[in-house]
């Protein structure tokens, strides 16, 4: 954790009630600054939070929340006992983990490489180009991949055939489907996800590089001993937040890419619930599914934060 010097005459180590009170009184304007954000938080985030209760009800349209029957955890049991739940949970975790392991480092690497580019025009052009796919919807991107990956006349398979291989039906073969999902997700979002790291790199104190140069450090060494540590707080923050969405493996993406032949490996919680219309006429059930995802995500964030505090001495709170 970055240590921050005491903001006021009250010392940072001040213990006990009087010390805390002094700290508050000396920084009343800090709390004032917080006010708009807090009002927003309470009004727009916590006021509607009562909607979560629906997940524990058999929500009755005639009586609303106040008059609906409470059913405890039975909506969750319905989810956990669905025939295919185990399969889709495994798929969700696998695809999500592949995405984290393989894709999380890529934007960081891109930011590091871009930092080595000295030609501003080139740098800006690349930055702009690689973030373009973020702005196209999955429908468009998937449509394009169906064409590129087609076993009859698709670009990729023409290359494979030219190299003496046999055409591969990437999108209908359970062995390849997850790889395609991970790769295309990377393609679409790497440039966008790199932005926050590029900005972090820009915030690094330039004096450090000059000092290192004088000490005779090459650029590769500078990259690993100055740039990477310099953006570490951002990396840690992004990583903790990223694992919070572990159960969201890319519903919108997979919906546009999958088909019945690859359900065994490609069907995830979001697509399963959507396809089966499980939440239909059943607001309680869809709320329960959302709540399940949220609870898992929140626990992961809390754990991630604690581990990071312990081992990396950095934390979000």
């Amino acid at each position: 954790m970055q240590t921050i010097a005491a903001a006021d005459s009250g010392s940072i180590g001040a213990r006990g009630k009087s010390g805390r009170w002094k700290l508050i009184r000396g920084n009343l304007d800090m709390y004032l600054l917080l006010l708009p954000g807090l009002i927003f938080l309470l009004l727009f985030k916590y006021t509607p939070m009562y909607g979560i209760l629906i997940a524990f009800q058999d929500f009755n349209i005639f009586t609303g929340i106040s008059g609906s029957e409470w059913v405890g955890m039975s909506q969750f049991e319905k989810l956990l006992h669905s025939d295919d739940f185990f399969r889709v949970l495994i798929n969700t975790l696998l695809i999500s983990l592949y995405k984290i392991v393989l894709l999380f480092p890529v934007p960081i690497a891109v930011a590091l490489l871009l930092n080595e580019v000295r030609r501003m025009f080139f740098k800006r052009t690349i930055q702009t180009v690689i973030y373009l796919p973020h702005f196209l919807s999955w429908v468009i991107i998937s449509g394009l991949f169906v064409t590129i990956l087609s076993p009859t006349g698709g670009l990729v398979n023409e290359v494979i055939v030219a190299l003496g291989g046999h055409p591969i039906s990437f999108l209908t073969d359970n062995r390849f489907f997850r790889s395609v999902v991970v790769f295309t997700a990377g393609w679409k979002e790497v440039g966008w996800n790199a932005i926050v790291f590029i900005a972090a790199v820009a915030g690094i104190d330039q004096e450090q590089y000059e000092a290192a140069s004088i000490d005779g450090a090459g650029r590769i060494r500078q990259m690993f001993s100055i740039t990477l540590p310099g953006i570490m707080p951002t990396i840690v923050l992004m990583f903790i937040l990223r694992i919070g969405s572990l159960l969201e493996a890319g519903t919108e993406q997979i919906l546009t890419m999958y088909n019945p032949l690859v359900y065994d490996n490609g069907d995830v919680i979001g697509t399963y619930v959507y396809r089966m219309g499980l939440g239909q006429q059943d607001y309680s059930f869809s709320t329960a599914v959302g709540l399940f995802n949220s609870a898992v995500g929140f626990v992961l964030i809390v754990i991630g934060n604690a581990l990071s505090r312990k081992f990396l001495q950095r934390s979000i709170w």
Binding site: F59, I61, T63, G64, T152, N259, L278, Q280, Q281, Y283
Partner: protein
């Protein structure tokens, strides 16, 4: 994460009930209840309108269109003819039902709402007390409505004896079939197939003799993965609709005795390379690409979709010709298309309307015979001409000023609308020919009406329908593509029954028994 549509609907209806309950507790007649609600909300704006004779601005909620509904020429024409100013809002294209539910639930004061004829949604709204009973209003203010809309149509929409909506009629029965390249047929020297066996022989000839001339790139029949049951073929196996009458009971396709035969036939086509081997990943656009680039010998397509592929195909292959395959006869001698049944759109007056009487007066004015004609097809000599009794559009002005006219209707002049409507089909001669072939040249007995077209809201069916249809579609696709075998059919049928089919079938057949009489 994505919000479930039906879940949202349900909750919305709940909120809606709270609103209507709060506002309409006096239990008096609808107009009075709504008027008092309006008066409470804004005393100046309502109530007095009827007596003072001043026409209020009406608010209409209609389906999505890609042009501003307030500036579209029909809006202005209607304002002149009816004397009412109307402010039009549109639902989104995506998640339209969600939005409609929110608006209905929150008591947004629309005077007329125009939406797809979703009978389940309609009967649900009506039963929850969200809609105004139109019967007394029509009695008092609706002479043109009574003339335009048949008693039969009104009866079909009655719920517990009350009428809550006015229907826009369906104007045609059959939408899609297999479109086949007739020049390929000539090249392989074969006739238009009339049975499933002949179709198979034709597709085989397409494969072996390669009349398209692109070798391996060519596909005898292209289809897409969203569509496991091909029109015309599935009818040949006696299952044109999702639920079909088997010995007096409605049975879903999976449990139909012919299911095995249909799947067997299709799987055979696939195995022999007669169906696009990429059909599982194909989207509608992909199949159209293959057909219009001249690489497919046949495609399943709606006739209204034909203009888009016709132009492209003619550019790529100037000598290409095509025609629809009629209702193929199957091994059991059956044949048929799924026939549209029920209505196209419904227009209703929400309970929250502040001007129900003016709304009905406005609707009545739009259904006056001449006004309705001008609404539907415009002015003679400007928008259309009449040739041999057929309404022919004048292009491009008909496109610009009347393409979206049906969004402005609140019910239709049932005696004349089918005739007016054909002006739209005449916009493109190729489209008209295809439409004519399916709807006029095919005998009536092969247009088998969807028995569920007029079915009311049935809670279990509504709840399980999507899951059941998805299960069957996915399973069928796997069977056709050879990724699963029919040996597991019994087990899958059992799973299917348990997933809600039994509950739905009971509801459906209870209703069917009373409706069939």
């Amino acid at each position: 994460m994505k919000m479930s549509t039906k879940g949202l609907q349900l909750t919305a209806v709940a909120a809606l009930l709270a609103v209507t309950a709060a506002c309409g507790s006096n239990g008096g007649n609808d107009a009075a209840g709504t008027a008092s609600q309006g008066a409470a909300a804004s005393p100046a704006a309502s109530g007095s309108a009827d007596s003072a004779g001043e026409k209020p601005t009406l608010r209409r909620l209609t389906v999505w269109q890609d042009q501003d509904p307030n500036t579209y020429p029909v809006a202005q024409m209607l304002e002149e003819k009816t004397g009412y100013k109307v402010k039009y809002d549109t639902l989104p294209q995506d998640k339209a039902a969600d939005k409609l539910n929110l608006l209905m639930a929150s008591g947004e004061a629309y005077d007329t709402v125009h939406y797809a004829a979703d009978m389940a949604l309609y009967s649900d709204y009506a039963q929850k007390g969200a809609l105004t009973d139109l019967t007394p209003l029509i009695e008092q203010y609706g002479p043109n409505i009574k003339k335009a809309i048949s008693q039969q149509s009104m009866d079909a929409l009655k719920i517990d004896g009350k009428l809550y909506a006015l229907p826009s009629m369906l104007t045609y029965k059959v939408g899609s079939s297999i479109l086949i390249r007739t020049d390929w047929l000539d090249k392989v020297d074969m006739d238009m197939p009339t049975t499933t066996e002949e179709l198979k022989a034709v597709l085989k000839a397409f494969k072996e003799q390669d009349p398209g001339g692109h070798g391996d790139q060519d596909v005898p029949l292209t289809m897409n993965g969203d569509n496991a049951f091909l029109d015309s073929i599935v009818g040949a196996f006696g299952m044109p609709n999702t639920w079909n009458d088997v010995d007096g009971e409605l049975v879903p396709r999976l449990l139909d005795p012919s299911y095995k035969d249909y799947v067997g036939y299709m799987a055979d086509l696939y195995k022999e390379g007669l169906i696009d081997n990429q059909f599982v990943v194909n989207k509608g656009a992909t199949t159209k690409e293959k057909f219009s680039s001249g690489q497919a010998g046949a495609i399943v397509i709606h006739w209204a979709d034909i203009p888009s592929i016709d132009e492209a195909l003619k550019k790529n292959e100037p000598n290409a010709t095509f025609a629809y395959v009629g209702a193929l006869k199957g091994p059991g001698g059956e044949a048929g298309f799924s026939g549209n049944a029920g209505f196209d759109r419904l227009t209703f007056i929400p309970k929250a309307s502040k001007h129900p009487e003016d709304a009905i007066k406005w609707i009545d004015a739009t259904l006056e015979a001449e006004t309705f004609k001008e609404l539907a097809v415009g002015e003679e000599g400007v928008h259309y001409t009449v040739e041999n009794g057929a309404f022919m559009p004048i292009l491009p002005i008909f496109n610009d000023e009347r393409n979206l006219a049906n969004n402005y209707m609140s019910g239709t002049d049932e005696a004349n609308y089918p005739l007016y409507w054909q002006a739209r089909v005449h916009k493109n001669p190729v489209m008209f020919e295809a439409f004519d072939q399916l709807n006029n040249q095919q005998p009536d007995e092969v247009k088998i009406s969807n028995p569920l077209g007029l079915a009311p809201y049935m809670p279990n069916y509504a709840k399980y329908n999507q899951q059941l249809e998805t299960m069957v579609a996915d399973y069928t696709i796997k069977l056709i593509a050879g990724a699963d075998s029919l040996s597991g059919l019994d087990a899958f049928q059992a799973k299917y029954k348990a997933a809600g089919e039994e509950a739905s079938a009971k509801e459906i057949n209870d209703w069917y028994a009373t409706a069939a009489k």
